[in-house]
Every structure is written in C-alpha cells, then in structure tokens.
C-alpha cells in the first residue's frame, strides 16, 4: 500500500514540476527548480542505499564529483556528445561504487558511516589535487554548453527539460527496484543481514548492487550539475554536500522515492527563503530542521500523509 502511494506521489511530483516551471518565466526561479531536481536525482540514489537497503553513506559527494568530472573529461578531452558524456560519468561513478562496496560490506551502522565519510574525504583530497584532470580547487574546470547532436540546449528552459528527464529516469529506476524481488531482498538485508542470508539471499551481492545503483544515480546528478554550472571546482564535492544529501533523504521520508524528491527541494529552497535573515539564517535553518525531525521523525512526507489518521484518532479519543 505504501509502495503504490509512493509511486502515485512520485508521479504527481514529476508532473507538478513542469507545471511549476511553466508558471514562471523568471530564470532565477527556474534555476532553483533545476538545481532542486539535480539534487533530487542524487537524493534518490542515496534513498535507495539508505532507505531501501539500510546502507548509510556519508561519501555521496564523491560519486557526485566522479559523475561531474567524468562527464567533463569525456566532453572536453574526447569531444564526446554531452548525453553520452553524462552516461560515461555516471558509469564511472557506478564502477567505483561497486568496487568499494565489497570491502565495505563487512561494516555496518556507524562504522560504515565513518568508512564512507573517509572515502568521501579521500576522494575530495584527490579531486583537489589531481589538478591535471580536475583543475583542483582553483581555478577548477569548465565544460561547453549542453547540446544534442550539435543543437544548443543550454538555456534555463531547455536545461529544465534535460534535467527533468534525468529525474524521471532516476525515479523510474528506483521505483522498479523497490517494487520487484531485488527490492524485497534489499529490505530483508536492511532488517537483518543474518536472517536475509539464512533464506538464501546473497547479502554481499545485494549490498554491491545497491551501492552501484546509488552511485550511478548520484553520478548522473553530478553530470547534470556539470552542465548546469559549466564552471566548477572541487569545493562543490566536499563532505558538506554529502551531509546535505543525508538531510534531504531523511527530512523527506527515508523509505520513499517521493520523500527524497520533496527533501531535495526543501534543502534547496529553504536557504533561498532564509536568505534575507542574514546572520540569523544558519540558526533558523538549524531550528527548522530540529522541529521537523522532532515532530515528524519519519520525515515530512510520512508525517503529512499520516496527519489525517493521527487527527481522526485524536478526535475519536
């Protein structure tokens, strides 16, 4: 039941986005929408890992960076068509995600959190210092405008649709994994690795699978970010972004694709809203987060969907 309602909600969100974009011709609002969708793609990746399989990762920024740098290198050095460059970046990220998952599969909970955090920091140091490939922290690197078959599609309106397609793809992949047998075995791994193994689930393989797909989607998001930013440096791929992604996934609702999308938009939009608070914005953001988690500990989407039920129960009592 939750699964179908998640699917409906996800579709509703995916439809609502172009409607929202059509309502404004302010390029700033569009840019916020586009950036929100880019974050949502990465958040859906983490949602699969953490929400569906219980594998925490505090190193997602590394996959985001691998996607962005992979895409940029393919496009700038080898003149690869942008769409293929993004695919190549995402695949590079997936390959790395898959290969680190095996050694990491022995770790769980806080130890896994620390190990992925360490992986993220190490990758950041590599991004910052492999200057011939990445341009480092300064001046960074840049990429040509997005195009398909030589047709320039770099205006904010056109980028909106490009990124939207990316988000639809990500949601489709995640939704399918959630609803078929792989999803159920991931859930089993999340609940108890030992019990899952005892009914014949290959736990190591299941974890490797979800790490690879999570890295793939986050890498895809990085490739889209490269074309959105066009000029960027390694500071975009620090642990700050990994923590932001974690906030998106948990604030939204841990085990829902729609939750990851909602969470991504909250974390993208809230700072914009709080901008005018100047010195008070950090404080406001922190307090808002505490309040949401305290009163809706399973996330906004679950919290709001559960509201009618809670209210009617209270009314009856």
């Amino acid at each position: 039941m939750t699964l179908t309602s998640d699917r409906k909600l996800t579709i509703a969100l995916l439809v609502a986005l172009p409607v929202a974009a059509a309502l404004t011709d302010n390029a700033f609002y569009k840019a916020v929408l586009v950036f929100g969708m880019i974050n949502a793609v990465a958040a859906v990746g983490l949602c699969l890992m953490l929400g569906f399989a219980g594998q925490i990762s505090l190193g997602q920024a590394a996959f985001y960076g691998l996607g962005a740098y992979g895409t940029t290198l393919m496009a700038s050095r080898f003149g690869v068509e942008p769409v293929l460059a993004i695919a190549a970046g995402a695949l590079l990220s997936m390959a790395v995600g898959w290969s680190i998952s095996r050694p990491l599969s022995r770790l769980h909970d806080h130890y896994l959190a620390m190990a992925t955090l360490a992986f993220g920091i190490i990758m950041f140091i590599v991004f910052a210092n492999a200057r011939s490939l990445t341009g480092g922290l300064d001046p960074g690197t840049s990429i040509a405008k997005f195009s398909i078959m030589g047709r320039d599609l770099s205006s904010m309106n056109q980028l909106f649709w490009v990124v939207w397609v990316g988000l639809v793809l990500a949601a489709f992949v995640a939704g399918n994994i959630a609803s078929n047998q792989i999803g159920r075995s991931l859930l089993a791994v999340k609940m108890s690795a030992a019990a899952a193994a005892s009914v014949g689930i290959d736990v190591v393989r299941a974890k490797a699978f979800v790490f690879a797909i999570g890295a793939l989607l986050t890498g895809l998001s990085g490739g889209l970010y490269a074309y959105f930013a066009r000029s960027f440096n390694a500071t975009s791929f620090g642990i700050g972004y990994s923590i932001e992604l974690l906030m998106m996934v948990v604030l939204g609702s841990l085990s829902r694709v729609s939750g990851a999308i909602v969470g991504a938009f909250i974390i993208t939009v809230l700072p914009v809203v709080f901008e005018n608070f100047e010195d008070y914005k950090t404080l406001t953001f922190g307090v808002t987060m505490v309040i949401i988690m305290k009163y809706m500990p399973s996330g906004l989407v679950d919290g709001i969907l559960g509201l009618p039920g809670r209210l009617s129960r209270r009314a009856k009592a």
């Binding site: 302010n26 390029a27 700033f28 609002y29 840019a31 916020v32 950036f35 140091i125 910052a128 480092g136 922290l137 300064d138 001046p139 960074g140 840049s142 970010y225 930013a229 066009r230 000029s231 960027f232 440096n233 500071t235 975009s236 700050g240 700072p271 914009v272 901008e275 100047e278 010195d279 914005k281 950090t282």
Partner: protein
C-alpha cells in the same frame, strides 16, 4: 467599537493602500529614484575573513553616497546575499539578483571559484559584474560585462618574487593552505618563480584550521630555502608563526596579503616580529611616504572605516569600496538613462585612484594593471606594520 463590516472594509482599504504602495515601489519609485546594487559576499563560512570586511566596506561607501544625496540625486539601495563561499549558492544568488531583484550591477563574490561560475551568467544576462576575485581569469581575456577590483594572485606573487630577487633569495620554501585561496597563490608563485631566478625548494600544504603545523615547519627548516612564504588566510599564519618560533626557525618569513592584518601581530605576538607581508596600502596608510599617489585615497577609507566600525579595516575592504566608487563615477558620467548597457559602456571610461591601486578602465582593461602600484612590502616592527619599500 468597530462593527464587523467596518473592520473588514477598513482591512480591505488597508490592503488597497498596501497594494498601491507596492505598485509604486515596483513601477515608479524604484525604477526612477533608486539605484539598486546587488552584492554577493561570503559573509559566513571559511571565506568570511574576506566576505565580512567586503560587505562592511560596501555598506560604508553606500551610506556615504546616500548621506551626500545619492548619485545624481538618486539613492542607492543595496541587496546583499551571503554565499557562504559556496559556488552553487553564489550562482543562484546572482540569478536572483539579475532576475528577481533586477539590480543594476553586481559586486562580488569574494572568491575565484564563485566568480568564475558567475562570469558566464553575467555575460549572458548582460549585467555588469565587479568581482573581487584573485584569479586573473576574470579579466584575462577581457569579457564585455565583467570587471575585477583586487590585485590578482599573479600580481601579488610577482611583487613578492621581485622582492626576493632584490634581496638575493633564490631558494624559497612555500607553505600554502589546502584550499582554493592557497592553491591559487601557490600556482602563481610556482609558475612565475623561474622568471625571477627563484627556485621553490620546498612546498608544503596544511589545512587552514589544523591545530599544529610543526611537521611542515620542520621540513622547511631542514631545507636549503633562504626564506619561507606562507600563503593562507587565518588562523594558519598565526599558528605557523608560533610553531616556527618554537622550533627555532630563524630565517625570514613572508606572508601573502591574506595575513596583512593587525590580527597576525596581536595573535602571534613576538613570534610575528620581523615577518614581512605583501599588502595593499590600506594596512598601514600612515607609514606611507608623503609622495605616495594613493596616500589620500587610502587614508580616507582607513579613517572612515575606523570611525564607522571602531576597528582597523582589513585590506579586503578596499575591494568593495573601490568597486562602488567606480560604479558611482561611471553612473555620474552616463548621458541619458541609467541602464545596464549604459553603465557597462561608461565603466570602460573610468579612471580611479582607489585603495587597491590606480584603475585605468578601458575596453581592453577591466581591472588593475601592472602599473597600478597595488602592492607594498610591509614589515612587523615593534608590534606595528610599517612600509618597508
């Protein structure tokens, strides 16, 4: 008592009045009587050492303009956003300033990374951007809409290297922070060093906030280098000065302009005595020679800032004060309506002696040039910075 009906009609009247004010604000008043200037500064986060003084300097300059009746009778309205040094945020804020706030020009951001990401946005949206970036890529090659007020890292590096050459220092140890600021400076120094006959004998890095840099200092001490050059913002220069004193490092220590601040002398105390810094003149205007071409301009910024904020200005203050002064001069020179395009054209005719040096803007120069006399060597003597050239 107000009847229910009366209250609601009062409310609707109030609403009408509000709407009228809002309409006037968006249509008439703002478009004609106010000049909207946007700014993006890293007022918090790791770059706040630059962003905070930049924002304060800008507010000071704008207050001064408005107190004198504005520019051509129009008051200046400021909209400042805090980018936290985050490139993605800075780009969003630039779009917001251009599209939603509809400002005339954008000042900032504070770092090269942020500025480079906004560069194409400014050119495509056709709005004047006066960045405060250390990278020469902002204005080399010159693009139509983008200007830059600080001396670039290459200018600072060239200045220090020319000092080394003059003083017979051929072996240099470089200590740079593992962040964008440190990396940019280290690149400039390494690239230009051969031209001045200087060899970088050691290059060590550190995190700006590491509690201790003794290991790096020892490696420098152990090397044939005749001097150490530290390229980092605070707190690292203070910690390095203390660590160096503790292990008995006794060769000269030079710092980049990020350490050009009273803070180094207060925080490191005797450990900083005798160390050098390549700085803009704003660090110690009273020790400048009487004939210095920038003396009056620098002294004014220094005194105004002290009067307003009750503390000595960081040298970064001049980035934004100069930028706003140039905008003011350019607007005054416009014949006809103050539009983004007219401002851009007018900017290219401005000559201004500011805190950072002499700006001679033209279609081929959008920032300081090698003859701008931006940098000066200062030395810490008796707990004070003193000009040493």
């Amino acid at each position: 008592m107000v009847s229910k009906h009366g209250l609601s009609s009062q409310l609707s009247r109030a609403r009408l009045a509000l709407a009228a004010v809002a309409l006037a604000a968006t249509m008439g008043v703002h478009a004609q009587d106010v000049i909207k200037i946007g700014a993006i500064y890293a007022a918090s986060g790791p770059l706040s050492l630059m962003g905070v003084p930049e924002e304060r300097g800008l507010r000071m300059k704008v207050d001064e303009i408005n107190k004198a009746g504005g520019i051509n009778g129009k008051k200046v309205e400021l909209i400042v956003y805090d980018s936290e040094g985050n490139t993605a945020k800075a780009a969003q804020q630039a779009r917001r300033l251009i599209e939603s706030d509809k400002v005339l020009a954008i000042l900032g951001p504070s770092s090269s990374g942020e500025s480079l990401q906004i560069l194409p946005i400014a050119n495509e949206s056709r709005i004047v951007l006066i960045a405060h970036a250390g990278t020469e890529k902002m204005t080399n090659p010159v693009t139509s809409w983008v200007f830059n007020t600080p001396p670039t890292d290459r200018v600072v590096a060239a200045h220090l290297l020319s000092v080394f050459k003059k003083r017979g220092i051929t072996q240099l140890a470089l200590m740079s922070a593992a962040d964008g600021f440190g990396q940019s400076g280290a690149n400039a120094v390494k690239e230009l060093a051969p031209k001045y006959g200087v060899t970088v004998a050691r290059h060590e890095e550190f995190n700006r906030t590491d509690p201790d840099m003794t290991a790096q200092v020892l490696k420098v001490k152990d090397s044939p280098a005749q001097a150490m050059l530290v390229w980092s913002s605070f707190p690292a220069p203070t910690i390095i000065a203390k660590n160096a004193a503790a292990v008995g490092y006794n060769k000269p220590m030079y710092n980049s302009y990020a350490a050009a601040s009273k803070d180094l002398l207060v925080q490191a105390g005797p450990a900083a005595e005798g160390s050098f810094v390549s700085s803009m003149r704003l660090l110690a205007p009273d020790t400048l020679k009487a004939g210095d071409p920038l003396r009056t301009a620098v002294q004014k910024i220094y005194n105004d800032y002290r009067a307003k904020y009750n503390e000595q200005p960081a040298t970064f203050v001049a980035h934004s004060v100069d930028a706003m002064s140039i905008v003011e001069a350019a607007i005054k020179k416009i014949n006809g309506p103050v539009t983004r395009e007219n401002l851009r054209a007018s900017m290219e005719t401005v000559t201004h002696a500011g805190g950072n040096g002499i700006f001679r803007l033209s279609p081929t120069s959008h920032g300081l040039d090698p003859e701008s006399q931006s940098m000066l060597l200062m030395v810490a003597r008796g707990g004070q910075w003193v000009a040493d050239e």
